[in-house]
Subunit: 455 residues, 2 copies
């Protein structure tokens, strides 16, 4: 991966939230401009084509349905390791050749890893699309995985972990909070991997993982841009179509979370922290595990409670009371397994972290008890619709929505009908969703400056 690639949870969450907030409705896609084409190659590779004629560029993404939550015990980091290894030499191309080809035509490329998927993408002129497909199809199966490549790239990943996690109190806390929130589900394990396990990843681990997961029948190709579906299909067949189907994979059934009976707190105290902050999380259903309508209600709940400057938390704590520098809520819905809902805040001025936490908790209790007003709900739905319009302005957002949904158990139809399902959500659905937020059965992370004592 490249220096700016993102694998951190925070970034993934943001992507998921944006993704979910921007899908076009059936009505809004009446114009053929947004008509999405979806088909399978004969080797099982899924292809999604999203026409976008506003500019002569194309976003080309390959999503592998494998992420850190699919790793074997003790092998954490192997999924993210491939985000690096995929940029090394193949039997046809030297290390760096793909990058140089993209740069030579003024394009950009990168990759990212999450709990449920690993994706590789390029943004280039449409003329270069087939060339990109050729490179991607090549590295899907032809990577040279030898001890030297493994050792070199493992050192790079170890250094990445040192600089991004071990030197960063926020990231260190986040890791231990996740491992405390999820006691059985593999989202407990950090995407980058535990240091002591990354250190031991070897050629055997890499080959096993590559041969199992890097196959056309475990991948989704997403192409968004100024392209003709028929032409893209022909190119995909000429490139990816030549890659042999891999072994069939069993359903992605992972350990699930037991009921939480306790209140859990994880506190990191560090001299590098200036402003204290907290984040309280609950395990809740994702779009893939929820009952119909439930995940949509959780999305609206997060929006109304803490989705932005119009939200209750922001208005109450930041604007009216003036005690918080920040306060909000978020729901990471686009996940294969049960996911997290969080509320967070940080004090401002003379206010204490306790005060902010109490005020946030009071809002959580209030929304679960009294629900939301018709007006709030309508405005939240409207904000979601408006956010779609913004999202469409970025071709890559559309590609991300389809890719992340398809890689986490969803379908093209799920994306297209999402706004319709959001519109159907009632105030009672939102209040019911808020019942997941049990104050005494939550997990809270506290980030504290050295001088301050614990919660």
């Amino acid at each position: 991966m490249k220096p700016d690639a993102h694998w951190l949870r925070r970034t993934v969450l943001t992507l998921a939230v944006v993704a979910i907030s921007v899908a076009p409705t059936a009505a809004e896609t009446a114009s053929s401009e947004w008509k999405v084409t979806d088909f399978l190659l004969s080797n099982g590779m899924e292809v999604v084509i999203i026409p976008d004629r506003r500019a002569p560029i194309v976003t080309h993404m390959v999503w592998y349905k494998v992420g850190s939550a699919d790793e074997l015990p003790g092998k954490s980091g192997i999924a993210h390791f491939f985000e690096h290894l995929m940029f090394k030499a193949t039997t046809s191309h030297a290390t760096g050749e793909f990058d140089r080809a993209v740069a030579a035509i003024g394009g950009s490329n990168n990759a990212f890893t999450s709990y449920d998927y690993t994706a590789f993408h390029e943004t280039v002129a449409p003329e270069a699309l087939e060339q990109m497909m050729g490179f991607e199809a090549d590295r899907m199966r032809n990577l040279i995985l030898n001890d030297e490549v493994i050792a070199t790239e493992r050192d790079v990943v170890l250094e990445e972990r040192r600089s991004r996690v071990d030197s960063n109190p926020d990231a260190l806390l986040e890791e231990e909070v996740s491992a405390t929130l999820y006691q059985n589900q593999p989202y407990r394990i950090p995407v980058i991997g535990w240091m002591q396990e990354i250190e031991k990843l070897n050629k055997t681990d890499a080959k096993l993982f590559y041969d199992r997961y890097y196959t056309p029948n475990n991948a989704v190709l997403v192409v968004a841009g100024d392209v003709e579906p028929d032409a893209v299909k022909a190119m995909a067949e000429r490139t990816y179509g030549k890659v042999a189907r891999g072994p069939d994979l069993p359903p992605r059934l992972r350990p699930v979370e037991p009921e939480q009976n306790t209140m859990r707190a994880v506190t990191l105290t560090d001299a590098r922290v200036n402003v204290p902050s907290f984040s309280t999380q609950w395990v809740v259903p994702s779009y893939n595990t929820a009952k119909p309508g439930e995940a949509e209600a959780l999305d609206l709940l997060a929006e109304i409670l803490g989705g932005g400057s119009r939200s209750r938390l922001y208005q109450e704590l930041v604007v009216k009371k003036g005690i918080a520098a920040s306060a909000g809520a978020s729901f990471a819905g686009t996940m294969l397994d049960d996911t997290s809902f969080s509320v967070y805040g940080a004090p401002r001025g003379d206010a204490s972290l306790d005060q902010v936490e109490e005020a946030v908790k009071a809002e959580v209790v209030r929304i679960a008890r009294d629900g939301v007003s018709a007006d709030e709900l309508e405005k939240a739905k409207n904000r979601f619709v408006r956010s779609m319009i913004f999202a469409r302005d970025r071709q890559s957002s559309m590609a991300n929505i389809y890719g992340s949904t398809l890689a986490t158990g969803g379908t093209v139809e799920d994306v297209e009908k999402w706004p319709e399902r959001i519109r159907k959500a009632t105030a009672e659905d939102v209040r019911a969703a808020a019942r997941y937020l049990v104050p005494d059965h939550a997990t809270t992370g506290y980030l504290l400056p050295e001088a301050q004592t614990g919660n």
Copy 2:
């Protein structure tokens, strides 16, 4: 298993502590009364014979080197499930036949499961030893595992979980504390299994587990009692010796724990709790993972800090200050992987839980800073030696020591040299061991009555 069988962590810890505190020294075993015989059958089964001529009884135990920490992800509870299934019908004996045979001769029998092993044992007259071996050798490989047996016994285990864990605030808290303390090691997962995973255990899971782990080359036979080694050897060859060797198992290498950077708290509030209590734990090396001398120092540290009524915690908090109803420390050393060291306490009279926790923490800080005195160390070593003498009085204790040590990576020599190694420990070793007890990087469980607020 039988109603009084123990699998709960607390019980296992107690066993481990007793086990470690009672091994005879080389000098003390000079009399041939305690000369232990150790050999392998040709199928790989290890046999340990501990002569004990004081009474005409014999303790017969089979220890399988498999426990809950060896389970596959999502299959928690399968190891403990076998504690039940092993009492069902085999191809040679009906369900209950073994139990009735033991009862008919006035013997007793039972089984228990831990993170690292599963053991089955009978106490009978020496004349019945070969019969016991016959039954045990039979059920090692000849269990009838069909859907009906699985379904019936699974219901029994589910009911066991409901009554022992889900109806017990202490046990519920303990589960979530363990899963918070261990974020990567499998000691995170409860021995009995998570409810939602026990419910799904099936015949395929059981057969796989049985064929993999229930083999002579994965078992240790321990016989303690009024027996002649040569006679026992002949009997073992006639019974266990006929069981075919199983597949070789890979080394028991499990995921290890990352460094802990946070303070973690897990609070369970429940109306059934009368007196609040807390327990703070740290992950520390076990006898199997420690550097030479380190685990012995941890054992002595636990003894001096909180091993009984002579310990610092008891003397300070219960006797002098009178603020605690209980206060102590323990170290679960006999484990395959890194294990836990804990300190705990509960208030008395008007004292608050906070007061007790602060006083315990102060003693932890003091022992890590100032170490222990020569006199304290000498007395603790003497108490260990005395506890051995008591332990010898129970034949089953000796069998437990050898069995648990051999099932967690140790040898007969490790058991025999243990008192010698304890005697070599210095005050500096104990102080060095106390450095694991970092106050800000610990995991604390709080059990609170409904009325009281959190920590």
